[in-house]
């Protein structure tokens, strides 16, 4: 076991002669907010699936929360949280039922479920909505709830796949307040986004192009390195060179 949240060396996923992920190497520190950027089709989702223990790499090495992605997939799943824009909560369960369900899946006791549930509902200011179906909540609330549920078991790492897509600009910023909170509690945050301003909120970011990681540094260093005034320009400079068609 090591102290890095994620280590990754020459991680590769091949489908036939197509390298979806092509020898990527990086490390993520515990408690870091790590932005995982790339154009559609660059290989982000494939890489994330391997790191979440959902798909075996073709070659290379990687550990997540200290567990090996080849041999300890089940351990990985227990020690991470995951949320995406597409899959988050059960719409026809109430707020509290969703909390109980996910907390239960993550192995929390009844007592912990009650305490954590109360704490979470209070923190989100959702006392009024606790008995409402999640499907009837505005998207921004759903996303905030989904994130809180994804870390209810205090995982070492939480993976967020485009968590703020389509969310209004005020709620989007409130969501990032939650991310900072989680990072302060020591939870590592691994996040993908298409909003370039959000790339700036990460401690470090990597940018994938055609299956490789073409840039990895703090946002400030990347801006300097590319002589750019914003992350948008950095992203353009890198993604324009992509050969693969989108997605």
């Amino acid at each position: 076991m090591n102290n890095k949240a994620i280590t990754c060396k020459d991680l590769t996923k091949r489908f036939g002669d197509f390298f979806a992920v092509n020898h990527i190497s990086f490390e993520v520190e515990q408690g870091e907010i790590f932005g995982f950027l790339g154009a559609n089709g660059a290989g982000k989702t494939t890489a994330m699936r391997m790191l979440c223990g959902l798909s075996y790499p073709s070659s290379g090495e990687a550990t997540v929360a200290g567990f090996n992605v080849f041999k300890q997939q089940e351990e990985i799943k227990k020690n991470i949280g995951y949320m995406s824009q597409k899959f988050s909560l059960y719409e026809s369960l109430t707020v509290r039922e969703n909390i109980r369900f996910y907390g239960g899946v993550y192995g929390l006791s009844d007592k912990q479920l009650k305490e954590k549930g109360d704490e979470l509902i209070e923190k989100l200011g959702m006392q009024q909505e606790a008995k409402m179906m999640v499907g009837s909540l505005p998207l921004g609330w759903k996303q905030k709830l989904a994130f809180s549920v994804a870390i209810i078991h205090q995982p070492r790492i939480v993976f967020l796949d485009e968590p703020t897509g389509g969310v209004d600009p005020v709620t989007r910023r409130q969501f990032w307040d939650l991310i900072y909170d989680a990072a302060e509690q020591g939870i590592t945050v691994f996040v993908t986004t298409h909003y370039m301003d959000e790339a700036e909120y990460c401690n470090r970011i990597s940018i994938m192009v055609d299956g490789r990681i073409d840039a990895l540094d703090t946002p400030a260093n990347l801006r300097q390195q590319f002589g750019a005034t914003s992350m948008n320009e950095v992203f353009y400079a890198l993604a324009r060179s992509a050969k693969r068609s989108a997605d």
Binding site: G41, G165, E200, Y201, A246
Partner: protein, 307 residues
């Protein structure tokens, strides 16, 4: 008469719940590129579905190309192109079969209007024998746009065509829209990305069923109340809580590598006073400058001060 006209359109899906649209009115001129800018749940798709005659409004009146959306639905359906937010082509038909199908449906052929779709379709042409369901996201988007254009519609409705699409592909998509506009097609397009607003001629900012404002992007920016400043510091997120606590601050939020702030009242010495305060809190190297607001700043302002 304007090409698209909505007058006091309201729509509720669920009784006793807040309506999806409430008294929405706006109009789009012939040949205009008009943007509906707002987050998920704002009511953008409901507007599209009413205008394309797929949904009846509860109240109000709307016309497209001079036709009434209720009485003349038949005429509307043949003169508009619609690209829904969800990919809705036939997954089991190939690229070419899909395009052929939609051409036939509208009583035309691919070759008749080929000039219009040439640029877009040719990008997916190398895959013309591939099933649509097996295409990448970017290619699906281009094929869907080709199918929506194959009958040379008068009005093109595009519901979030760039959602989930990366920044470079989004730019390419907007370049395509500009070319279509030059062909004289009226375009109504929705997006949750505020940075795309400036690419439209006029926009409506929309939130929870209400229009917040309608104007050209420049005029919306010009109407921003007071001055907006950017604060820069090495660790900008540490700056946020302290700046928010400052008594004279009206707005303060993160904007990429900067904070955007607005004072309750604009005064010449306010920026310097803020810097002095921040210094006393241990933030030594903070820079402040007045900046031009963007559409996202205007949207945030409208959300915090609804009229």
């Amino acid at each position: 008469m304007d090409t698209v006209v909505l007058e006091n359109i309201s729509k509720s899906y669920i009784k006793n719940a807040p309506p999806a649209l409430e008294n929405v009115s706006f109009s789009v001129k012939k040949g205009e590129l008009f943007g509906l800018i707002g987050p998920d749940g704002a009511g953008k798709s409901t507007i599209f579905r009413i205008l394309t005659t797929l949904l009846l409004s509860d109240a109000g009146k709307a016309t497209v190309a001079g036709y009434d959306v209720v009485k003349d639905f038949h005429q509307i359906r043949s003169c508009v192109g619609y690209m829904p937010g969800k990919f809705s082509l036939y997954q089991d038909l190939t690229v070419e079969e899909n395009l052929n199908f939609f051409a036939t449906l509208f009583g035309t052929t691919i070759s008749e209007n080929y000039a219009l779709i040439k640029d877009i379709y040719e990008q997916s042409a190398p895959f013309k024998n591939r099933r649509a369901g097996k295409l990448s996201g970017g290619m699906k988007q281009k094929l869907a746009l080709s199918c929506a254009l194959v009958h040379r519609p008068e009005v093109l409705f595009l519901d979030e065509p760039t959602t989930g699409v990366d920044a470079v592909s989004r730019q390419e998509f907007w370049d395509m829209l500009k070319r279509l506009k030059n062909e004289g097609i009226t375009i109504v397009v929705s997006t949750p990305y505020m940075d795309e607003a400036s690419l439209c001629e006029r926009i409506a900012l929309i939130q929870t069923g209400h229009i917040l404002s309608i104007d050209t992007p420049d005029n919306i920016v010009a109407a921003y109340p007071g001055k907006l400043y950017a604060l820069r510091a090495p660790k900008v997120h540490l700056l946020l809580p302290d700046t928010r606590r400052y008594a004279g601050i009206r707005q303060c939020y993160a904007a990429g590598e900067k904070l955007h702030i607005a004072f309750k009242e604009d005064g010449k010495d306010h920026p310097a006073a803020l810097l002095t305060y921040l210094k006393s809190k241990g933030h030594q190297t903070v820079a402040i400058e007045e900046i031009r607001p963007d559409i996202e700043d205007c949207f945030i302002e409208k959300l915090s001060n609804p009229q």
